[in-house]
């Protein structure tokens, strides 16, 4: 993802709450500290397909914002 960002693509990582710090650390480690981390409610594993879709609904607007910001 860091490599794609460096190449100029619109990028973001979807991340559940407890993994925020790991995501931030990894973004810094890979030299893309401004990589957007789009948060979803934890957990992602062990949930129904319906709940997965709810997570997607939660995060899609955030990703649209990332794309819009880029197009400004």
């Amino acid at each position: 993802m860091a490599e794609l960002r460096r190449r100029g693509l619109v990028t973001a990582v979807i991340c559940s709450d407890p993994f925020l710090k790991l995501g931030q650390n990894q973004a810094r480690t890979f030299g893309v500290p401004d990589l957007p981390l789009l948060m979803i409610k934890h957990p992602l594993g062990g949930i129904s397909l319906e709940d997965v879709k709810a997570r997607a609904d939660q995060v899609i607007p955030k990703f649209v914002d990332v794309i819009r910001e880029r197009m400004k």
Partner: protein, 371 residues
């Protein structure tokens, strides 16, 4: 000026602390540089003594430890080895282990950052294991011997301090594992009726090696009753064939630890190591129906369509994908016990021989002294 002084003069390479054990340990705690236990203060003199057993450049990384991808230079590793309480002669094992863990197939990023309770298990083979006094006998996986206690601890400290395996931000293990303090043994080659692990893997018997496995803690198999090899293998296979291990989902190399008495009985009944692995592959299984309906439908049928897409609930689930994927060692002292050690699953074991800088095998730890 010592060889180390120049390196320590570079920015950030060293810091001053009050010359007091309590003050140093307070500093280490404040910085988050420990496993929670007190450390031996890594003074320049102690670190230099540790590096007396490193015949390669002290500032050239032997690998990069994820998730921080910190450069594992011998200098940094030596500081962590001192902190762990290692004797200098242990250091070549630590360097070889870090190198092994940084091989891609070990999947150190996954092992460091996962929610699974995995820790690197070090199995040392060959004459240097004995020279260093690494315990292969009674309580080898437990406390009591400096080499076992501190070599594994040095690896953990390097994983934390160089690799950034900080609980909650780099090490996301749900509840961790006692094996994350130390997990280091030598194989009991003298009581092994089969070829020792390193010879099985293609190394010369006189080579000294370290094999690193991304492992869970062991599950014991008590069997004081079986009088035959077949009986013992059946009991061990029963312990292997349980739900819950990562190995059912991936291509791991789960480990079977034979106590010497069990190994002797199985070998006496004519089983080679290959026979034993085949037995575990064929019999260390459980019926698909012991998994939850959701797990079967959402994972097993999807991930292994050829094996389970249309399988009935009595289809058997193996704990390794191939017979040869089972690893087998002999460990410990007297007693009718063996153990099963599941793994992280998405990892392969890596073995490194202890070698001089010219690539020749080290026959003794003294061959690895700096000249």
């Amino acid at each position: 000026m010592s060889a180390l002084a120049n390196l320590l003069n570079s920015p950030g390479a060293s810091l001053e602390a009050a010359g007091d054990w309590d003050a140093v340990n307070q500093l280490v705690r404040d910085k988050g540089w420990s496993d929670g236990l007190p450390v031996v203060p890594p003074t320049a003199e102690r670190v230099e003594a540790m590096l007396g057993y490193c015949d390669r450049p002290w500032d050239k990384p032997v690998g990069a430890i994820p998730p921080r991808y910190g450069e594992a230079t011998p200098l940094r590793l030596a500081a962590n080895a001192v902190m762990a309480g290692c004797r200098p002669e242990y250091f070549p094992v630590i360097v070889a282990t870090i190198e092994a863990m940084c091989e891609e197939k070990f999947n150190l990023y996954g092992i460091q950052a996962t929610t699974h309770p995995v820790a690197p298990l070090l199995i040392v083979n060959g004459p240097i294991a004995k020279e260093l006094g690494i315990n292969a006998g009674h309580n080898a996986l437990g406390p009591g011997v400096q080499a076992n206690a501190t070599i594994g601890r040095a690896i953990r400290l390097a994983l934390v301090n160089v690799g950034g395996a900080i609980p909650g931000s780099g090490d996301m293990s749900t509840f961790g594992s006692p094996a994350k303090y130390t997990y280091c043994v030598a194989e009991n080659e003298e009581r092994n009726p089969w070829e020792p692990l390193h010879v099985e893997l293609g190394f010369a018997r006189e080579a000294s090696t370290v094999t690193v496995i991304g492992a869970e803690t062991p599950h014991n198999v008590n069997d004081h009753e079986s009088l035959s090899g077949e009986g013992l293998l059946r009991m061990i296979a029963g312990t292997i064939g349980e739900t819950g291990a990562n190995d059912i989902y991936y291509e791991g190399q789960p480990l079977v630890i034979f106590g010497p008495e069990h190994a002797e009985q199985v070998a006496a009944d004519g089983y080679s190591k290959a026979d034993v692995k085949k037995y575990f592959y064929e019999n260390g299984r459980f019926p698909l129906g012991r998994l939850s309906h959701e797990n079967i439908e959402r994972r097993m049928r999807v991930k292994f369509p050829e094996r389970f897409a249309k399988a009935g609930l009595d289809a058997l689930v193996p704990l390794a994908q191939r017979p040869e994927d089972f690893l087998v060692i002999v460990l410990g002292g007297a007693g009718k016990h063996s153990a099963f050690v599941p793994t992280f699953g998405a990892t392969r074991a890596v073995t490194r021989a202890l070698k001089r800088s010219d690539g020749s095998l080290a026959g003794s730890i003294n061959d690895l002294r700096r000249r």
